[in-house]
């Protein structure tokens, strides 16, 4: 049952984008020399849009102009035009019959001015937050326009390494639940993250150094899963003190090159 679970998860073909060449041949061995880990890549989605490039801005301006020229007048604009004409007529010919009607009605121009006032009173939140300025990598408020992912310091063998949170696979559970368990161990139970799909996004396998390698323990395979953080407040205490939220570009500062290569393959940075 255990072997079958593991084999089935591995035999699901990895999606086109993630790993082009990884096709698993399911050799039905009962006891495998590889140790399996499930790792979770927890992403905080961007909260604001990225600034436009120069060409994008020009294009946007052009499209807006086209749309404006193609569009018809809205109700408000029609009302405004009519009232302007009425005003002009009043000025020229000094009609008195309009007065009885016109005084109680709110003019479209007044409405516009009111809206302008409201707009000026509105103050947007700053795009570059304090966390950005202080480069506090532990907070979630940094870099609101890109994906942030969680890195945790873990002890593998003798070394303390920065990794995506991972936990060993227990026989009898699916790899996805392993990854969720990994997330729960590092961030507490009440994390609101959504995993899309049961298929892993990437795989990193490595062999143990010769000293530790045995017949049954050749190396380890780490399967990566992706989850999206739903709520942005992590008021629960972190169990492990060393954690970081980093963007894709900053990953290079922390991860080892081989590991980084595999992780970069499935990270989408639009």
């Amino acid at each position: 049952m255990a072997g079958h679970c593991g084999a089935r998860a591995m035999a699901a073909p990895l999606a086109r984008r993630a790993a082009g060449s990884a096709r698993w041949v399911c050799s039905a061995a009962a006891r495998r020399p590889w140790r399996l880990f499930g790792a979770m890549c927890l992403l905080r989605l961007p909260r604001i849009t990225q600034p436009l490039e120069k060409e994008e801005e020009e294009m946007a301006a052009l499209m807006e102009q086209i749309e404006l020229e193609k569009s018809l007048y809205s109700d408000h604009e029609m009302r405004k035009l009519e009232e302007e004409e009425q005003l002009k007529r009043k000025m020229e010919s000094l009609y008195d019959e309009d007065e009885a009607r016109g005084k109680t009605v709110v003019m479209a121009q007044d409405l516009e001015e009111k809206w302008e006032q409201m707009f000026l009173r509105f103050k947007a939140a700053p795009r570059i937050t304090d966390a950005d300025k202080s480069n506090d990598r532990m907070s979630l408020n940094r870099k609101l326009d890109s994906n942030l992912m969680l890195l945790v310091k873990q002890k593998i063998g003798n070394q303390e390494l920065w990794l995506l949170p991972q936990v060993e696979w227990q026989p009898g559970e699916t790899l996805r639940s392993t990854a969720e368990r990994a997330m729960a161990t590092f961030l507490g139970d009440r994390i609101q993250a959504k995993v899309l799909g049961n298929a892993p996004y990437g795989i990193y396998k490595y062999k143990f150094p010769r000293a530790i390698r045995t017949e049954n323990n050749v190396g380890a395979k780490v399967f990566f899963f992706k989850a999206f953080l739903q709520s942005s407040d992590l008021s629960q205490a972190e169990l492990k003190a060393d954690y970081l939220w980093v963007t894709k570009k900053e990953l290079g500062d922390y991860l080892k090159s081989e590991y980084l290569k595999k992780v970069n393959r499935f990270l989408l940075d639009l």
């Binding site: 699901a12 073909p13 990895l14 999606a15 086109r16 984008r17 993630a18 989605l45 961007p46 604001i48 849009t49 499209m63 749309e67 109700d75 408000h76 409405l111 009111k114 994906n147 899309l196 799909g197 049961n198 298929a199 992706k226 989408l268 639009l270």
Partner: protein, 244 residues
């Protein structure tokens, strides 16, 4: 230039038959007309060609007495049953016979959700926003993205717009009501045949390219969604209620 060149009497009067001044071949031969006037300006030449054109048409139409009455410029080439070219433009008899279409709404097709292939059935990607241009362009982008990724797009349609009136009740001295009229637009792209390994990737791509102000919703297509597009017929429902 040469005022005496074209005499009115020389022009054949096309009124109920030909002019009486000569039915001979000499007169009707165009070449004979040109010879006495070797040097012509363009204007005169065009007038002459007009005259000669009239003559040629006159010659052809003399065979066909039926359109002798009429304007000089009438082209008399109607296909009568006696002519060999009768029915030359017909093509409907070559097309396959079309049966009259029955006006019946098709119920949706449902595919297996979790089978050995791990494929989703019909999925609706619903995009809602207050800004029409934005949501339309985004719907177009999603449609093209699915085309490029060879995902079958069943339908791409728009739901009717909903208009909301927003009333502000300000209580600063006099009670005022500021009205704002907001229109909500919704576009739906329906895809089918999405494999479960690719679905999260597609969702992530669409999510990361979502513009601001657009709500995105991906859900499976149900009968309720299908029915929401149809208009309800109150009279029919009344009659049905009366009957039962």
């Amino acid at each position: 230039m040469y005022p005496s060149m074209t005499d009115v009497r020389d022009v054949p009067q096309w009124r109920g038959g030909l002019a009486s001044h000569g039915d001979t071949e000499d007169n009707n031969n165009p070449c004979n007309r040109l010879l006495p006037f070797p040097k012509l300006s363009l204007g005169q030449r065009s007038l002459l060609s007009h005259v000669l054109g009239l003559e040629e048409r006159a010659a052809a139409a003399r065979e066909n007495r039926l359109c002798a009455a009429g304007d000089a410029l009438l082209a008399c080439h109607r296909s009568y049953k006696s002519r060999p070219t009768h029915g030359i433009g017909k093509f409907k008899y070559l097309l396959p016979k079309e049966l009259p279409k029955r006006r019946k709404e098709k119920v949706q097709m449902k595919e297996i959700n979790a089978g050995t292939e791990y494929q989703y059935g019909d999925i609706n990607i619903q995009m809602t926003s207050y800004d029409l241009c934005l949501v339309e362009h985004f719907a177009q982008y999603v449609h093209r993205l699915c085309n490029r990724l060879s995902i079958r797009v069943n339908e791409s349609y728009a739901m009717p717009t909903k208009t909301n009136e927003v009333l502000f009740l300000e209580e600063k001295g006099s009670k005022m009501q500021l009205d704002a009229v907001l229109t909500t637009h919704q576009r739906v792209v329906q895809i089918c045949g999405l494999s479960s390994t690719f679905a999260p990737i597609l969702l992530e791509i669409i999510q990361s390219s979502q513009p601001e102000g657009v709500h995105l919703l991906m859900k499976q297509h149900t009968e309720a969604d299908f029915k929401s597009r149809l208009k309800s017929r109150p009279e029919l429902e009344e009659l049905l209620a009366e009957m039962s």
